[in-house]
């Protein structure tokens, strides 16, 4: 198991370099530079423009800039935002809990509903339920996130008035951001002062529901379909027949002998969905004005805030890689054949 982890870690290094090169290159391919965006194209004096670029170190040749970037990274310096002058890492850690909270809720929603629907569809293969689940999940997978989000807001928030339209919490509440997770903060604040903060937790929860559903829809569809097909495949295996020949109950045959093996490919897919979640978070946070990483990055790209874009994406990418790494390890635990592979 130890060598397994070491080998996986070794693979991370080239991936990491690839990401720095990509983010560094892509943001510089977009026309315009930070100074131009800040000052406005027309009023910009070429002399001042050059001086500002020089001050920011952006007049150096690209390879020198890339080298500077890497050597700063190696020292653990993620730089400052060109716009707010705030430390990138500090900005990230302030905003990240909001995204994490949303992503976790979305993944929870997607996993629970997806696994359940997938398993049931496989057991009742060919039934109306099966066709229904597969049809709906194909629709969910094909739906553009921004459109789906707006439809849900129109229906549940505007027409029915069940949920709030945007944000994390109603403005009338003033909750100290202790953990950064609104559910926890609101719950604690309400517990501390039940009268003043009455209903804060419920409000935070209501704010989370729609964004979680929107962000979780694609992972849900993928997980449900993957679970179903994986279950169907494993149900044909000889060892499932052996399990039935042992006189085990149908529940034991399904959950102990079939699902455990069927989960292996599903786990991988769930790990890959973390990347999808981060991509989806950008759109979802924009639609719901959710103050998280996605919105932060979109704003930074608009302002050509190079350090924020480069390092923000680098951090997000590292998180995605790490999640996949953890999934790989879980995969090794779930599947002894991989753990023991040399």
């Amino acid at each position: 198991m130890f060598t397994f982890i070491l080998r996986r870690l070794g693979l991370l290094i080239p991936t990491f370099f690839g990401i720095t090169l990509l983010t560094f290159g892509l943001i510089r391919m977009i026309p315009g530079d930070p100074v131009e965006v800040m000052m406005g194209e027309r009023s910009l004096d070429p002399q001042m423009h050059a001086e500002a670029l020089h001050r920011l170190g952006l007049d150096k040749p690209l390879y020198a800039q890339y080298f500077d970037y890497l050597s700063n990274l190696a020292r653990g310096d993620l730089g400052q935002s060109l716009v707010t002058r705030e430390n990138v890492w500090a900005e990230f850690t302030t905003l990240f809990p909001a995204t994490l909270e949303l992503a976790l809720c979305a993944m929870l929603f997607a996993s629970v509903v997806g696994l359940l629907a997938g398993v049931l569809a496989a057991i009742k293969r060919g039934s109306l339920f099966d066709h229904g689940v597969m049809g709906i999940s194909l629709t969910g997978f094909s739906m553009p996130i921004f459109w789906w989000g707006l439809v849900l807001i129109m229906f549940f928030s505007v027409s029915l008035g069940w949920t709030p339209v945007s944000g994390r919490l109603d403005l009338m509440f003033d909750i100290p951001p202790d953990t950064g997770f609104m559910l926890i903060d609101a719950w604690r604040a309400e517990a501390a002062d039940p009268e003043y903060n009455a209903g804060a937790f419920k409000d935070a929860l209501m704010h989370l529901i729609l964004p979680s559903i929107v962000l979780g829809t694609i992972p849900l569809a993928v997980i449900a379909r993957m679970t179903r097909s994986s279950m169907l495949e494993v149900m044909q295996e000889d060892y499932v027949r052996t399990a039935r020949a042992k006189g085990l109950s149908p529940a034991r045959v399904i959950f102990v002998h079939t699902l455990r093996n069927a989960l292996i490919p599903v786990l991988t897919v769930m790990g890959l969905q973390v990347g999808v979640l981060m991509g989806g978070a950008v759109l979802t946070e924009t639609i719901f004005s959710w103050p998280g990483i996605g919105k932060w990055l979109i704003d930074a790209i608009g302002r050509r805030d190079y350090p924020v874009v480069q390092n923000g994406i680098l951090i997000v990418a590292t998180l995605v890689i790490l999640t996949n790494f953890i999934v790989d390890i879980l995969y090794g635990i779930a599947n002894p054949r991989i753990r023991h592979a040399k």
């Binding site: 000889d238 052996t242 039935r244 020949a245 042992k246 006189g247 455990r260 093996n261 599947n335």
Partner: protein, 325 residues
């Protein structure tokens, strides 16, 4: 009273209006402690019969029978819950390919102990001790450390021993071995067969041995049923059936054993294959391949006729004829 009694069993697959009979009008009895062989080509319905009896077909096949009783219990009317109390405990089955018959995600020990937990309610130290005892009974070396091994860490022969340990865990009255050695190396085959036969004797189980290996059956079985295209075509005591086969198919099977073709330039074979779903003949199922076929064989399907202790299904049995080996 027989331990297992099957009368006129049919297993149908496919559409109701155009069913395919994988097994048709099958009669079979097995007495306590008896070793019965079932032989026949691939596709003759040997495994399906056993799976149907154990309730492992899971709604894929329709099972019809006049009688299907085990140990005094009617398996046709029994509830699924009641059946699960018998299956895995009093009737156990060993499958063809040991490498795929064990769940790759659980240790060998877990899979053996699971049976003991479910059927005998064993827990804790007694559970582990019994699992170890079973591993030793099937002659697995270093049994204690092997309990925590995963199936992929075992060879085919070892895996099959584990499968056997699992099957005999609750001292079944009937063990069904479905081609238990087909997927194994030749050297291992004999060992596994020997183990099964010795366990059958020491545990006093009835054993149904499904196999292609006629030599083994001739050696160890008390009775043998020859199956062809879903029917028992001949049934009789050993060695009588091997000395004097009555059905042309049995004769053809025997003459295809290489030892019986010594001196001949070519191995004797029965041309053609078992008829499938769409080419079942109207008359005797063997008629397209039978060397002794007569015109009425192609129209009338022969019924089972008693013969000594056994029976055969043929219009023109080889009763007074020297066998054409």
């Amino acid at each position: 009273m027989s331990l297992l009694e099957i009368k006129n069993l049919s297993v149908q697959f496919g559409r109701k209006d155009a069913p395919f009979n994988a097994v048709e009008g099958l009669d079979l009895t097995v007495n306590e402690g008896e070793l019965v062989g079932i032989v026949g080509e691939s596709g003759s319905g040997k495994s399906v019969t056993m799976m149907a009896m154990m309730g492992l077909l899971e709604g894929q096949g329709r099972i019809v029978a006049d009688k299907l009783s085990f140990d005094g219990k009617d398996l046709l009317t029994i509830s699924a819950r009641e059946r699960r109390k018998i299956v895995g405990k009093d009737i156990a089955m060993i499958f063809q390919d040991p490498m795929t018959s064990l769940n790759p995600s659980y240790t060998v020990g877990y899979q053996i102990m699971e049976v003991l937990k479910v059927h005998q309610g064993l827990r804790g130290a007694a559970l582990k001790a019994r699992a170890l005892e079973l591993m030793q009974m099937v002659e697995i070396p270093a049994a204690e450390s092997r309990l925590s091994a995963y199936p992929h860490q075992l060879s085919g022969g070892m895996s099959q021993r584990v499968v056997i340990a699992m099957a005999i865990a609750c001292k079944p009255k009937l063990l069904i071995a479905d081609e238990p050695t087909t997927a194994l190396d030749v050297t291992i085959q004999a060992q596994i067969m020997e183990l099964l036969v010795s366990l059958q004797k020491s545990q006093n189980m009835a054993l149904i041995m499904i196999t292609h290996d006629l030599a083994v059956i001739a050696e160890v079985a008390q009775r043998v049923a020859v199956m062809y295209a879903g029917q028992v075509v001949e049934m009789g005591a050993v060695p009588g059936l091997f000395r004097q086969p009555v059905h042309p198919y049995t004769e053809a099977l025997l003459s295809s054993i290489p030892e019986h073709s010594k001196g001949a330039s070519r191995l004797s074979t029965l041309p053609g294959i078992v008829p499938g779903q769409y080419d079942r003949p109207a008359g005797c199922l063997l008629s397209p391949r039978c060397p002794y076929v007569q015109p009425n064989c192609r129209q009338d399907r022969p019924a089972l006729s008693p013969h000594g202790e056994g029976a055969y299904r043929c219009h023109y049995p080889l009763l007074n004829k020297e066998t054409a080996r």
